[in-house]
Every structure is written in C-alpha cells, then in structure tokens.
Symmetry: C2
Subunit: 309 residues, 2 copies
Amino acid sequence: MTFKVTILGSSSAKPSVRKHHSAHTLNAYEQFYLIDCGEGTQRRLMECGISPMKINAIFISHLHGDHVFGLFPLISTLGLQGRKLPLDIYAPHPMGEILEAHYRWYDTKLPFEVRYHEVDTRSHTLIYENKVMEVWTVPLRHRTPCCGYLFREKEAGLNVRKEAIEEYGLGVAQITAAKRGEDITIDGRTIPNASLTYKPFTPRSYAYLSDTNYSGKAVSIVKGVDLLYHEATFAAEEKSLAKDTGHSTTHQAAKAAIESGATKLLIGHFSSRYKDDTLLLNEARELFPETYLAEEGTTFEIPVKKIVL
Amino acid sequence: MTFKVTILGSSSAKPSVRKHHSAHTLNAYEQFYLIDCGEGTQRRLMECGISPMKINAIFISHLHGDHVFGLFPLISTLGLQGRKLPLDIYAPHPMGEILEAHYRWYDTKLPFEVRYHEVDTRSHTLIYENKVMEVWTVPLRHRTPCCGYLFREKEAGLNVRKEAIEEYGLGVAQITAAKRGEDITIDGRTIPNASLTYKPFTPRSYAYLSDTNYSGKAVSIVKGVDLLYHEATFAAEEKSLAKDTGHSTTHQAAKAAIESGATKLLIGHFSSRYKDDTLLLNEARELFPETYLAEEGTTFEIPVKKIVL
C-alpha cells in the first residue's frame, strides 16, 4: 500500500547545473504516475532508481517547455526498450497534435499504444481511476491553460469488526451483507451497519499545483490533502511580479496549505534569481511550519492512515 | 587561435545514467559551434563550463531524437536569458517546420533571430564560413537523411620571410605585393613569390561523422583531417548488424581513419549493450593506434600547425 512522491526536478524555467526542470513521480500501490516531464526526466528517473518502463500514466500540467520537453524523449526510449503496455498521457490541447507531429518527424514507430487524453484545464474532473486510485484535474491560473492534479486513494471498503462477528455469531452471508453496508437482523432485532463495520483506513492524497497564481478555487478542491506541492516561484515581497507572471510567492503557497488544511506543504519551482533555497523555505514556514523543500531526489511517503477504533 | 573539441554526450539512442546523447562543441578562435544536440545538451554545456549563450551556430546531422531533442530546450533557454545575437541552425528538412511548430505550441517569442539553413545531406557543400573557418557537409549513409560536418581552418595568408626583406631590401609596397602572391622584380630580375613568402600554418580540421555505415565517399572528403570523430556503434564482429541499422563497427571507424589519413580518431555512440568501452577502444586500436574514446567532458585540442621553414 505504498504511497510516496519522489521529486525528480524542481527548477523554474531557467535551468541550472544545480536543478532540473519540473517532474514528480507518485508511486501508489507500485503503480507509477509521472507528473510533468521537463527535459532530462528519463535520466532523472534512472538516477532515482525508478525504471522509466514502470511509468503507467503521465500527467502534464501545461505546455511550457520546462514542464514537457522531456516527454517525447521518454516516449522514444520506451519504444527502444520494447515496451508493450499502453501508456496513458493526460495533457492539455494540442498535445495530440504534438505527439502526431513527433511520430512523423522522427519516423517513430512505437511497439506500444500511446493513449492520449486531452484534459480540460478549466474543469475539476475525474480523469483517471483504477481499483485503488483516482486522479482529478484542478484548474489553475497561469499564463497558458494549466491544471494541477489531485491524486486520491479510493475510499476503503467496509471491514466487519471481529468483536461483532463473535458477539452476534455472524455467518458468511451476514458478513458479506455487512461488508456491502447492510444492517443485519438477528432474531428480529436490527443491528445497524455502523456498529458492525469500520473503514480500515482514510484515503491518502497528494496534490500537484504548478504553475499558478494563488487560487481559492484550487484550494477548495484540494481540501484536506495530505501532501500539497504548491509552486513558490518568488519570495514573499514579489507579490506583484508573481501576479504578473502567473506564479506564486512563498507566502501564497503557505496560505494555500493553511486554507486547504494540508498536512504537509512542498514548495519548489524557485526562480533562478534565488541562490539560497532556505530563505524561501523559512518564509513559507513563518506561516506554515510543516513546509519542506521539493528537493530533487527526495521522497515523501505518506503512511497508511489507519483508523483507530 | 584555439581549436578544440569538447565531448558533451556520446551515447547511442538508448540513454543510460552513465552517458548523454550525442553532442560535441568546437571552439575555434573562441567562436563556439555545437554539433548535434541530444536531450540535456544545454545542461552538459554548463557542466563543461561553456555558457550556452556563447554558441554561435548549431549543426544537426540528422533528425533522430538522440541527436536533436535538446535543440528546442536550448533555444528556449537562450530566449529566457535574453540573447540578442542571431543563431544559425543547419539541419536537414523538415527542421524549419519543426521550429515553427514549436514556437506556436509553446507560445515562444524569442528576443533573437533563429536563422535556419536547410542542408542537403546528399551533397558535399560549403555551408558556413567566416574569416577563419569554413564548414562543409559530408554525405553519410544512415537510415534517414544524414550528413556529417567538416570544420576546416581557412588557408593562412602569405607571410614574407624576414631574410628575404633584408636580402632584397624590400619596401612596403613590395612586401604588400608579395603578400598578395605576386613575384617581385628588382633591378630587372624577377624573384619568384615562392622564394619570398611562406604560409605561417597549415589549416587544422575536425570532422564529425555520425550516424553512418562506412562510406568511402565520406572518407575521401575528409582526407588529411586532424581529428576524425567516427561513430562505432558496434564491435567488429557485428558487421551485419551495423550494416542493417545504418551504423559502423570499431574496425570500420578505424578503416575510415586509416584511409582518410586522419591524425587522431575519436570513437563513440556505442550501443548500450557494451558495458566496457575499452574493449571497443582496443578493437579500433588494433588497426589504428591513435584512437581515443569520445569520453564525455573530455577536450581534444589541436595545436597550431606551424610550418617549419
């Protein structure tokens, strides 16, 4: 039941030797999701010990190069490595056209299917789900159509309490019914489902919000998130520059964490003008102490949130 | 009068943590030429202490991703860094279309001019020159239109020998005429130009031949080259695989060096199947001892070739 995020790249648009362009991976139940894919992401995956072949879906926030230039190189390599499994790519328009053009220009015949899903960056929609996970878009406010992504574990099914099984002498059919949420009637007495069952854990969640101005709407969507990545391109004093460029300050990222009730905040995408990341970290911590740097190579794990009875 | 080549990337198509995709730079007289531009080239430049802003022209051999995916990321960064100087890009068709599409998709407004020059990969043509250098295309044999590039210092102008000036008591007008290649007449006696003048140096040259099958035509074009980079994707025993994939073996690279009369051979673009580069190096050295690995981060300098009188 792994649920952990690894930071592959964290720089803003101007790259440096110290940092790579934006990319995160989420490992949820040993399924790997890639979020944004700046130049060199395939190499960053390898450097972080994650085989690029393991990626099962890619989510692109917006079509600025520092978030997407690593996508086609990664796809090409997966082709060379003989991938067979389909690859789902979620990205704004016109990624479909971009992919088609690349196949044509570079004479690329992939041995696997790329399933492109165009995302509507203006709506909050469930775009992906499997047995254990769902992924939602989160509209953001940037200079170009842009959305964040909210990854949420699905609600757990009901478990039946051992004590209730013993107390009421429940049989298999009754246990199955209780798991479906039904009340149980024993000797004419109805036992309400709530006193028979419990949820073994609370869903974990991780939100990736980049690039964006502070957005109250985004904050309301990610309410109660465990791990919030929010870009903080600028220091607190650069509010006006942040506004004009479609970015956020450290204090705005912290505000998003406070107002969403996030447990932990990660900040990154710092402008290259800042040489010392800890100054930005300290600014955010003034408002939200549980802030951490989205430092490259670092993994943030969210343990299973067991419900204590 | 610097003339040196720095290897930025040397891997073949499948990348690894150990190597980057193809890219070389030539520093000739403090003008920087970039040859091929695999993913991550802008970062490799920085890591090798070469500011990407210094690149004045880029030469792309062919449109396979491992030779070109770093181009647009590099161009974007130059834009962000406020480059003003025009940038010349030489590449096969349809690079013009690729560039235009990227500007459109990524909403890119560059503060400098990109001057795209389509190269005809089938012809041996002078495509670039300035006061001291010329660059020629070298047709290659690959699976897709592909050419190498031959960088040659221009022929030096004539210098007049000090001894001749003294012996014949030459004046300024006579020295100028001799530098133009004229014979000089003194007291009715004609002194042939050859006995008055000399060339201060022999032009230096560097050829980049990748990706290609062994090509007798390419070899004849680069005759007498000082530094020959020739791909050697496969070990000597894989002749048939090399032929089928449009690549060369170590022995074929060595043969190209021998037959062109190269002074020094660099080999690279090794298939990822080979874990130990020295085995490939040793194979090439069996035939051509002056072979070296195109090892990333290494610089090969060609000193001025002064003509000893």
